[in-house]
């Protein structure tokens, strides 16, 4: 999906939104629901897009939408506290003010995926930017072929969105696998990296769109496994992460070779990044 058509007057100035709900998902991970004070000022978001969120006096960081795109009034963001800004975001209580700019970027190829099998591969917090796509896939189930969701985390405690995962796992029209890197005896599920699940799943590689999000190493392995399974580079989409200071193409920080991740991505077909991902420190 393209960036909003009518750019706001000052693309660097945030709108004010309020935290309406805060939910603890996993160690260090919280989901915030935000409501803009002036809802009319925002363009609708698409799965895979992101907002720039400001904690006043602390800073601003890119955070993906993690909520249901059907419900455009609730802006949902799932955030891992890793540093000053993300940490401050996760500490905000309901009622607190947040600065918000967005939505930004090109999201998941929901239209291209219609009529095809969809394989979703998520690592860790990578499930958050994929959740809007999953809501859409299941809400419009008849438009897609097989749906496969493979999700890996470090440990059972880190599993996000358990309620949704349970619901999706219970469906007969989807294959949902969760795996963890390390587990105690109480865990009866898969153990091992998520990419090892790919060869075990059934989908038609010639008619598949794959959506991949997670740490860069995990995405490399996922791409290799998907290509081994016969999925074309054009049909594998990944969401890239780069330092971002503007999200509108001014600051330069998000460059990855020729692309600006903020506006050409963050979601790219692997075919477009193939040569670049193989290079160190690009």
């Amino acid at each position: 999906m393209a960036a909003p058509e009518t750019a706001p007057l000052d693309p660097m100035a945030p709108l004010v939104a309020r935290v309406t709900r805060r939910h603890h998902d996993a160690p260090e991970v919280f989901t915030l629901e935000l409501e803009p004070e002036d809802p009319g000022a925002l363009a609708p978001f698409a799965p895979g897009q992101f907002n720039m969120l400001t904690v006043f006096g602390v800073g601003e960081v890119p955070i993906s939408f993690s909520g249901d795109p059907v419900d455009q009034n609730r802006l949902v963001h799932t955030i891992r506290a890793v540093g000053p800004v993300s940490g401050a975001l996760t500490e905000l209580e309901p009622g607190a003010a947040v600065g918000l700019r967005g939505p930004f970027g090109v999201g998941w190829p929901m239209a291209e995926a219609e009529g095809k099998d969809v394989v979703v591969v998520a690592g860790g917090l990578g499930l958050a930017p994929l959740r809007p796509a999953l809501y859409r896939l299941f809400a419009e189930r008849e438009r897609y072929g097989k749906i496969v969701l493979l999700y890996g985390t470090r440990s059972p405690d880190d599993i996000l969105f358990r309620r949704e995962l349970e619901a999706w796992r219970g469906r007969l029209d989807a294959e949902v696998e969760v795996t963890v890197d390390h587990a105690m005896a109480a865990w009866h599920g898969n153990v091992g990296v998520v990419t090892t699940l790919i060869p075990r799943c059934s989908f038609d590689p010639a008619q598949t769109v794959a959506l991949v999000c997670g740490p860069e190493v995990m995405m490399r392995f996922a791409i290799a496994a998907l290509m081994d399974a016969g999925v074309a580079a054009d049909d594998i989409y990944l969401s890239m992460e780069r330092n971002m200071k503007c999200a509108v193409g001014f600051c330069g920080h998000c460059q990855f070779g020729p692309v600006f991740v903020c506006r050409d991505g963050p979601v790219f077909p692997y075919a477009r990044l193939r040569g670049l991902l193989a290079l160190k420190e690009l």
Binding site: T54, F56, R242, N243, G249, H253, E281
Partner: protein, 395 residues
């Protein structure tokens, strides 16, 4: 001059239309009249001045502030002003600063937020229109301004601050009658003659009683202003003297960029051993990016008063040579010097074409002059190019 959208791509075809009757001669008095007239029209007049032993762009009112009689010596890691012993106004070339100092300043407040009780109000910093008249803009610099226009106002989003500072400029170009030891605009097709993107262009020639300027206008505003100044028509000999001086400059460039498809050359050599070699010399000081007239990268900083009632965000120039620039949680993407030098050079010369449909380099040579260890972008390109030609290093 309002947004010369196509400066770089435009071919120098309409020049013929102007003919020599459009060319007038100004003397020093005429030049002073130009400064005065611009000020009278409400422009903030900026031009080259002498300061800290360098040519610095600053507010000027009179001719006395120009570095008359001075000339620069430039080479890799070397800049020195010397008295030339000649009565000429513009015998120096470009200094450490560029016009981006005014159009895209090093520091810019973006917005302020105020908390009152529960209410928070964000006030974007007003984009203050400034009417700049720039005196002595070189051809490479006109190209650099056009490049920054494309980045900051011609993309999907426009930077209101840049736009406000850019929208009402009066550009007085000076065609270079001398090239510095680090100039290579001729090989980048960006100079030394200003072809478009200015209101008035001046070519300095030696008259019997002191310096004269062959002046031509390229906009209605320029023509209008020129019509107000004390002047006389240029003789064919004077026009020819100006043309010859600029042609001689084109032949005496201190550096030359190899005539090659630089984009393809660099992109097929992203893992060339030369990156490692140059990294042994590069100090990652970021000087090259600060003096570069097209480098546009910025970072942001938030500030807060003690109570947290008033907060603000400002942006400042940043450089791809810093570690922070590419930091993402867990570490910087480009931690080695070679990866940062490669980012800089391949962005400038290669991926800029993908992003903005032109090179990001205008051949001004500042990055060579102001590099403390004299790293030369043309030499780095040549080393990579030659390695492809030399069958020994290919094996």
């Amino acid at each position: 001059m309002t947004f010369p959208r196509k400066v770089v791509r435009e071919q120098p075809t309409q020049r013929g239309l102007m003919g020599s009757e459009k060319q007038a001669i100004l003397d020093a008095e005429g030049l002073q009249a130009l400064l005065t007239a611009l000020k009278a029209r409400g422009y903030r007049v900026i031009g080259p001045t002498l300061s800290d032993q360098a040519v610095i762009y600053d507010d000027i009112e009179t001719l006395d502030e120009l570095p008359r009689g001075w000339r620069d010596e430039q080479d890799g890691g070397h800049y020195r002003l010397v008295e030339s012993g000649e009565d000429r106004f513009f015998d120096f070339v470009v200094g450490p600063q560029s016009w981006k100092k005014f159009l895209h300043p090093p520091q810019q407040t973006l917005w302020r937020a105020r908390r009152e009780g529960e209410a928070v109000t964000v006030t974007p910093e007003p984009a203050e229109p400034e009417r700049f008249a720039f005196i002595g803009v070189r051809s490479c610099e006109i190209h650099a301004i056009a490049i920054q226009d494309r980045v900051l106002i011609e993309g999907p989003h426009a930077d209101p601050h840049y736009r406000a500072r850019r929208q009402d400029n009066f550009i007085v170009a000076v065609n270079c009658a001398r090239a510095a030891g680090t100039c290579f605009c001729a090989s980048m097709n960006t100079g030394p003659k200003a072809e478009s993107g200015f209101d008035l262009a001046l070519t300095e020639i030696d008259g019997p009683e002191g310096p004269l300027f062959v002046a031509e206008s390229a906009s209605a505003a320029g023509e209008d202003l020129l019509g107000e100044l004390p002047r006389r028509p240029a003789t064919p000999e004077e026009v020819a003297a100006g043309t010859a001086a600029v042609a001689a400059t084109a032949r005496s460039m201190g550096r030359e960029m190899p005539a090659e498809d630089l984009r393809d050359l660099l992109l097929r050599n992203l893992e060339h051993p030369r990156w490692e070699e140059v990294a042994e010399r590069c100090l990652t000081c970021a000087n090259c990016t600060m003096v570069c007239p097209t480098c546009f990268c910025t970072s942001v900083e938030d500030a807060s008063d003690l109570t947290g009632q008033e907060t603000s965000r400002s942006r400042r120039w940043d450089s791809c040579f810093t570690l922070d620039y590419s930091y993402i949680h867990g570490g910087s993407v480009r931690s080695s010097t070679q990866s940062r030098y490669r980012q800089w050079m391949t962005h400038k010369l290669a991926t800029w074409h993908d992003q903005f449909d032109s090179s990001g380099c205008v051949g001004c040579g500042r990055c060579i002059t102001w590099c403390p260890v004299g790293i030369d972008i043309t030499e780095e390109v040549r080393a990579i190019r030659d390695s492809e030609r030399d069958p020994v290093s290919e094996s």
